[in-house]
Symmetry: C2
């Protein structure tokens, strides 16, 4: 499953790092509500359903925080529009992911496709994606438009790659890093860079925020992969081992396969290489992943990326927005422990 930042229910308290962008996040919500409406009632209902399904608006927050952390004068309306476009792109991928994965629930609420059928859900995803480009066209910044078009292409390719290599552990060893970079990390990278671009940050600033976003995204996806194995289903909203059941071999499992003793390693690899995993197989792989240290190693890897993310901000001048970006990175560590 693609990482979704917050699995908490809709009415949960906003995280501390969001406080510094509270005003903008409110404005972004208003913009989302406006542009997501449709004269076709079913599309309007699907989109409204999506809009009220919660989520902490991580991507718009990153656009906003990166813009603020540049400490330069900028047009707040542009930040709001571009930030809203990133959330729309995220929503479009959720709608198409739900169709693709035949997911029945997300964040404890029924998904659009289960409720409205696949047909209109695919079209709603197209609608929301088009609205994202519509907002970007309205803004007119070619660099940001290109960044987001490139990103959408890479995300789509990595989602397709995931489907194509589903269940093939050897291919997951080969492509895991590419997939998490392209489906999750680059998105956060692009959000941060776009914020810096709108704020008129120079190339060094843009690169710094971009680097922060990329590493944050890698850490974030690894954490999501860990929580699929160690998380409380009541909190994550999905049963333990869902990724394995979906044919996805993520870092904690891959590290376990690579680092367990010869005998156990061969036994686990034999399980992993089967065409279909039974519930018993999934349970055995999850258990071994915790016991043999795969989870611990993945945690260390994620912590390393959080550290890398923070280090990339070292040259930035202090500001409340910068503190919020540090706090956001730190929240990943808290989340996975």
């Amino acid at each position: 499953m693609t990482a979704h930042f917050v699995s908490a229910p809709h009415n949960s308290k906003p995280p501390d790092w969001a406080a510094c962008a509270r005003q903008e996040l409110g404005d972004i919500e208003v913009t989302l509500g406006k542009v997501i409406g449709s004269s076709v009632p079913t599309i309007a209902r699907i989109n409204d359903h999506l809009l009220t399904s919660g989520g902490k608006r991580l991507r718009p927050a990153l656009v906003t925080l990166a813009a603020k952390a540049c400490r330069l004068p900028y047009d707040p309306d542009r930040v709001v529009n571009i930030a809203a476009a990133t959330e729309l792109l995220h929503m479009a991928t959720l709608l198409h992911d739900d169709v693709i994965d035949r997911t029945d629930s997300r964040r404890g609420r029924v998904t659009a496709n289960a409720f409205f059928g696949n047909k209109v859900t695919v079209l709603s995803g197209d609608y929301v994606l088009s609205r994202a480009f519509w907002l970007l066209a309205k803004d007119g910044d070619r660099d940001i438009l290109r960044l987001i078009a490139d990103l959408t292409i890479a995300m789509t390719e990595s989602e397709a790659l995931q489907v194509v290599i589903s269940g093939d552990v050897k291919s997951w060893e080969e492509y895991y890093w590419r997939i998490i970079r392209d489906k999750t990390a680059r998105f956060l990278d692009v959000c941060c860079r776009s914020g810096a671009i709108v704020a008129g940050g120079d190339e060094a600033l843009q690169d710094a925020f971009s680097e922060y976003g990329l590493n944050l995204g890698i850490a974030f996806q690894i954490t999501d992969d860990i929580l699929d194995i160690t998380g409380d289903p009541a909190k994550t909203g999905k049963p333990v081992g869902s990724d394995l059941r979906d044919g996805k071999f993520t870092l904690p499992v891959l590290l376990t396969l690579q680092n367990s003793t010869d005998e156990e390693g061969s036994a686990l690899m034999k399980i992993a290489r089967q065409k279909e995993l039974s519930e018993k197989d999934v349970a055995a792989l999850c258990e071994a992943t915790v016991r043999c240290g795969g989870v611990e190693m993945a945690r260390e890897a994620a912590a390393g990326y959080v550290d890398k993310a923070n280090r990339s901000l070292e040259g930035c001048a202090p500001s409340p927005a910068l503190d919020a970006l540090y706090a956001l990175a730190q929240s990943i560590i808290t989340r996975m422990n």
Copy 2:
């Protein structure tokens, strides 16, 4: 079914109206081949399949012909890129249409979803749509970007509306014109206007070509709706009455329901209002539509729009491209008879 301009097999001769844009259409094909490639083999195969499935590149031809008919100097590379973007948008809708309609074949070839599965086909559609916006972002013209984003939104809404009102003859009476305008006619309108914009045509010229495209598109869709009832399945690639079977009540049928005698009209309306149409019902409605003059009335309506399309070009200075636009409009009349 959304109108696809040519139902002839892949290796058919290009239409005469295309001759004047032959060079550009060749360049557009090269661009399409380049940008549609993907490092993910399945996406590359789906896109290649789509690219080689034929189609007369009506939309890119309209961009090119409108640009040429302005008789002003312009950058040919920009025309090629924007024209290619319109074809990509069209391809994306075909991919998502195929998933949505569970279509098994198009232009006599197996569709991507039947061959590769729905999952990757939805993603390929997303990929191709993103590539369209990528090309437009590369070009950077904000007006064209907005036009195409608006168009994509309207197309998506009308496709969803089609799904929502499927099988409901009363709703089709209400929404038929909106649907064909938004799903087909506006696209041709936007292609023509974009061509005029790239060529630096003034507002009057842009409006003239836009008006031509809109009316051409309406005539084109009505013709497609007629051919669904009168066409040779070997040529159209679909059985007679497919629209009715898909729950779509198109102009020839609607005109028949409105204009037949009281007794026959009530009998037909009773059939049309059933929850599901049997094969016998479809055959009865098709037969009545031909016999009671619905097809003939729809033909007259289409001819009226072709006429309107031609009249909107009256103020344009003569040129081979203008002749090609007239010939293109005329080909609709030939096609439906």
